[in-house]
Amino acid sequence: MSLILPYSREDAGQPPSLHAPYASTVARSPRQPLVRIPHTLTETTGPAGCWETLMGSSLADLTTQHKAMPQGQRIIVSGRVLDENGRPVPNTVMEIWQANAAGRYIHKKDQWDAPLDPNFTGAGRVITDAEGRYQYVTIRPGAYPWGNHHNAWRPSHIHLSLLGPAFATRTVTQMYFPDDPLIEIDPIANAAPLPYRQRMVSRFDIETTRPNWALGYLFDIVLRGRDQTPTEDGHDH
């Protein structure tokens, strides 16, 4: 019999599935109550150490994927992936995608007329080291308008996708930038209630700013942690 080490459940900072100010949630969120289940081997396991096989090699510099340097403000984003108990999550994959400096995605369905940048795709991938640290280089994405409501603009953000150690720890989030006035009027960011919304706001950092080259931002990601007590029955306790 395997020892089941369940993970913690959602904390108060997690948004609901239905958040009417983000209009697309209205017809796409369940109305029936979720069925709570204990964590079994299915929920407490996940792929590990096979990221290259699955997704491809590391792409930690989004500014050197094409012939020339992309337009915009070059930034270095650094941080750690931790669990709720403060333990590092080593050797885990974080996938990255974003708009360019003008706020335009390379995606064909993004029809906003801000310029595309042939030298910027906006997709990357990093693997955390033994201390859970990661770092990548990119261009600060621009804000962009969207059709959610009159004069709606998304704040500058970078999409981040993490699997962590288990099916239960899977997280997709967005990283925002400090002092962005658009955050407090953004329905997507505000789906996470204050003060927890601020967990998604990065911090400018002069220490990781590289002289004459790029600004540094810090951003830690916190995944669910294991419950403190292992059980053999997988039931909540």
Binding site: S2, L5, E10, Q14, P15, S17, H19, Y22, S24, T25, A27, S29, P30, R31, Q32, L34, V35, R36, I37, T40, L41, T42, E43, T45, G46, P47, T53, L54, G56, H66, E84, W97, H107, K108, K109, D110, T121, A123, H159, P165, A166, F167, R170, V172, T173, Q174, I188, A192, P195, Y196, Q198, R199, M200, S202, R203, V222, L223, D233, G234, H235
Partner: protein
């Protein structure tokens, strides 16, 4: 030296220890196709490029994986497919489905499954990712999983864990695929937690040689989603 320097204004950002806790979930939005679903991500057993939507962005901007060569895997190869529907019965063309499952022998490709007496299958990781098409259809090629342990001394019926992402989904929705007609379903400890009249939303059915599993995000036939 002013007292203000001794008492800096409280910070509210990601690095503030007072805010330490789970990073909130956010939607993948509508434009994830060049960043997440790689070619072959939906083919867990072969070399096809299933799963990606490369027509949605210029070819020179494809930086994800190419379907890696895979060794032959043990077990019965199956197709798992279905349409994702919204509350109005409209297909969802910008969703992404992820699956996680055990191999045919019932072992997970994970260091946290320590049952070394059950063989691992080096060619089978058991994690897959598929974008939905413009018609809302997702499709995987995988193997039918074996049974895995459940709570206590129970055994779980063969099942595939499913995560649903997409525009309008702030949080991943979690469900499971079970196989209609599997004798183990009757004793499955997780299905037993689902109201009897809703269990059929978790059953894939064999249609034209494929296992069909539609996902209804909301409405009369709403799929059962789990709080895990």
């Amino acid at each position: 030296m002013t007292t203000e320097q001794a008492h800096p204004a409280p910070r509210q950002d990601n690095q503030d220890p007072a805010l330490f806790g789970q990073t909130p979930s956010q939607t993948v939005g509508p434009f994830f196709h060049y960043g997440l679903p790689w070619k072959g991500g939906a083919d867990l057993v072969g070399q096809s490029d299933m799963g990606a939507r490369p027509e949605l962005f210029p070819e020179e901007h494809y930086v994800l994986n190419l379907a890696p060569p895979k060794d032959a895997v043990a077990g019965q190869v199956i197709t798992l497919e279905g349409v994702v529907y919204d509350a109005d019965g409209k297909p969802v063309p910008d969703a992404m489905i992820e699956i996680w499952q055990a191999n045919a022998a019932g072992r997970y490709f994970s260091p946290d499954d320590d049952r070394t007496e059950i063989p691992l299958d080096e060619g089978f990781i058991g994690f897959g990712r598929a974008s939905t098409s413009e018609e809302g259809l997702y499709r995987f090629r995988t193997v039918r999983p074996g049974s895995v342990p459940g709570p206590g001394n129970s055994s779980q019926a063969p099942h595939i864990a499913v995560g649903v992402f997409g525009r309008g989904l702030i949080k991943r929705l979690v469900t499971r695929v079970y196989f209609e007609g599997a004798p183990e379903n009757a004793a499955d400890p997780i299905l037993a937690l689902v109201p009897a009249e809703r269990r059929d939303t978790l059953l894939a059915r064999e249609v034209d040689g494929a296992w069909r599993f539609d996902i209804v995000l909301q409405g009369a036939a709403e799929t059962v989603f789990f709080d895990i």
